[in-house]
């Protein structure tokens, strides 16, 4: 059976129920895993908003490549990735990943794999606007380590 990959980079919000329906899950897939990332409050200064910039063209290509790499590792059904851009406020949804597979293990692992690589390879950048100042979010070592773990053979 043909398996579909849907990738969208958009300003508009998304709705999990609609996207779950649009995933068009197939009869051979008994597991669907979803991940949603949202804007969280900062520990210190209060966050007014977060603005997401991206590299149009490369973003879509890199997300597609990440899903292709996931498909080489696990037998997967349909995949959806939606990533928002523009200015968002606390609690707003940023990213959605939906992955289906015959069994849960592949679906869980592929969803994590896609998020780990999205965070370290896809050309998105966050700028936080607090009551005090606006600054670009620094990349985290923990995100790089999360992506690195997939290069060890036991993964």
């Amino acid at each position: 059976m043909e398996h579909l990959t849907r990738i969208k980079v958009q300003q508009e919000d998304f709705n999990l129920a609609d996207e779950y329906a649009a995933l068009g899950n197939q009869a051979d897939c008994g597991a669907i895993v979803s991940f949603i990332g949202s804007v969280r409050e900062l520990a210190g200064d209060s966050l007014l908003s977060m603005t997401l910039e991206h590299y149009p063209g490369m973003t879509e290509k890199s997300l597609l490549q990440i899903t292709e790499q996931a498909r080489q590792r696990w037998p997967l059904g349909n995949i959806t990735i939606i990533h928002r851009i523009g200015t968002l406020s606390v609690n707003e949804q940023i990213v959605l990943v939906l992955v289906s597979s015959a069994h849960r293990e592949a679906a869980f692992r592929a969803c994590e794999f896609i998020m780990d690589f999205l965070k370290t390879r896809a050309p998105f950048w966050k700028k936080e606007q607090t009551t005090a100042a606006g600054y670009w979010v620094e990349a985290k070592d923990s995100d790089n380590q999360a992506a690195q773990r997939w290069s060890s053979p036991e993964s």
Binding site: Y55, F124, W125
Partner: protein, 81 residues
């Protein structure tokens, strides 16, 4: 001629998002050298060890060979998701 694009904090530091750059450089490293030779703020901004680059929208390393007409991008580490 190369189409060079910059993103995020780097774009702001340079005050430049896009550049048509005439060059005989054969690698991205060569382009970096030429751009840095313009002095501040190019010199320090493009010296960052964590600088990422892409050739025709594909991540690569600075030793990547380039040919005229390529789109070359420079940007800081990514922070999506």
């Amino acid at each position: 001629m190369f189409n060079i694009v910059f993103f995020a904090a780097l774009r702001e530091t340079l005050g430049c998002g896009q550049l048509s750059w005439k060059s005989e450089a054969r690698s991205i490293a060569g382009l970096i050298q030429e751009l840095r030779a313009q002095g501040a703020p190019w010199d320090s901004a493009l010296a960052r060890p964590d600088l990422l680059c892409a050739r025709n929208q594909q991540l690569c390393t600075p030793d990547e060979a380039i040919t005229a007409g390529d789109e070359i991008a420079f940007f800081p580490p990514v922070t999506g998701g």
